[in-house]
């Protein structure tokens, strides 16, 4: 089973506070690790370290090609969801169908509405649609090969209603089944078979 993420002896000290010390983690394909811990315990920082957005740490990190979904949805308020996904596709070279992805996240009929006029939850859904097209699911060998097998999700449930949360669980399940992996920081129960929890904070 291919290893998607290895963290060895990761230590991060920020503003004089030790967020984590000698953290070790191996994430194989098919694994989902849920990061838990109180606010300010370093969940987001860990995800940002893995994504390469934060470099002030010591230790070793090796990550497969990943997709990062952070606090900010990364959706321009002035663009339509369709334009946003087309841009995303041009950056990643993905071939997924943006219309299909938008329908899947429950935004059918909103393709040409400027994101500014959408609710926070709907904007999160646009961000979720990115997860769908990054996989290029309508390719023949979709199950075999995923271009970005590692998902780094930072509080994916924010602002989503019950259906939206269920959608994330479905997406995660499908992703894991097809050989992907996920590192997910959330306070909610993921409710996925085979997900592990990694508790941060409380150690000094």
């Amino acid at each position: 089973m291919p290893i998607l993420l290895t963290i060895k002896n990761l230590t991060c000290i920020r503003e004089g506070r030790t967020l984590f010390r000698n953290l070790n983690l191996a994430l194989n394909s098919g694994d989902c690790v849920q990061l838990t811990g109180p606010n300010g315990s370093g969940k987001s920082t860990l995800l940002r370290c893995v994504a390469g957005l934060f470099a002030d740490y010591s230790g070793n990190l090796e990550a497969a090609p990943f997709l990062y979904l952070g606090h900010k949805p990364g959706v321009s308020a002035l663009l339509t969801p369709l334009a946003h996904l087309r841009w995303f596709a041009s950056m990643t070279g993905s071939t997924g169908d943006p219309l299909q992805a938008l329908a899947r996240v429950g935004l059918a009929g909103y393709e040409e509405i400027v994101c500014q006029q959408m609710s926070a939850g709907q904007q999160r859904r646009v961000a979720l649609a990115r997860l769908l097209i990054s996989d290029g699911q309508d390719e023949q060998d979709a199950g075999e090969k995923r271009s970005r097998p590692l998902w780094l999700l930072d509080e994916p449930f924010t602002a989503l209603d019950d259906k939206g949360q269920e959608l994330i669980r479905q997406l995660l399940t499908e992703h894991l089944q097809s050989g992907g992996g996920a590192l997910c920081a959330t306070h909610q129960d993921l409710g996925l078979a085979g997900s592990r929890a990694l508790a941060l904070g409380g150690t000094t």
Partner: protein, 220 residues
């Protein structure tokens, strides 16, 4: 990747037209003020016209720089761009090119009007256009480095000016110098070549520096 980013920037620009107009409005307001303040002495104004136009172009460019990465930084798109785009300099080049279109190029096209306001002799207007055309790309490129460095600061405006304006000085000297020499009847090819050189060097170096600066800015 270049065209994908270009399309995105174009759509963004269409939906934020006031941003498009801001630097140009500033430019013409300031020009008019100079014309009014200069009183009724066209000779004095026309002598200083190259310098005034170039300084105002510099400042208007600076005004447009502030917003170059700001919105993308705020909504997280910039983060995504840095993580996704490989190589990063291509979409950045598209962004800078778009900035140049609505600042540098737009100002170049409107420069004849500026020349009219400041009584610049008609025969040097082509030279003014030429210097603006070859000089303003350098402004957008160099300015983008400063914009990328200061994007994570809430009040980065003054710092941006302090960082970028000194780097604009050579462009100002050669640009305004070329027009003045033309008015004095001296050959100005050297200055124009220098402007070209500055723009070319900026084009080859700036996209990479912008990429590095953005990575620093995102690591907060």
């Amino acid at each position: 990747m270049f065209t994908g980013q270009l399309q995105r920037e174009f759509k963004l620009l269409l939906r934020s037209r006031e941003e498009l107009a801001n630097p140009l409005i500033f430019l013409f307001l300031a020009l008019t003020l100079f014309a009014l303040g200069g009183g009724g002495s066209p000779e004095l104004l026309s002598a200083f016209a190259p310098a005034i136009i170039w300084v105002l172009v510099l400042l208007a460019n600076l005004l447009a720089l502030e917003g170059m990465f700001r919105r993308d930084f705020d909504d997280g798109s910039l983060e995504m761009l840095v993580l996704l785009a490989e190589p990063l300099f291509l979409p950045l080049l598209a962004k800078i090119f778009m900035h140049w279109l609505y600042s540098g190029l737009a100002m170049t096209l409107l420069a004849p009007l500026a020349a009219l306001i400041l009584f610049l002799p008609a025969e040097v207007v082509p030279t003014l256009l030429l210097t603006l055309l070859v000089g303003t790309p350098a402004l957008s490129l160099i300015g983008a480095i400063g914009a990328a460095l200061t994007v994570s600061l809430r009040k980065g405006g003054v710092l941006l000016a302090l960082l970028v304006l000194p780097l604009y000085v050579p462009v100002l000297i050669f640009g305004a110098g070329a027009v003045s020499e033309q008015m004095a009847g001296i050959s100005n090819m050297a200055q124009i070549y220098w402007l070209l050189v500055i723009s070319m060097i900026a084009l080859t170096v700036a996209p990479f520096l912008v990429a590095a600066a953005l990575r620093i800015s995102l690591e907060q």
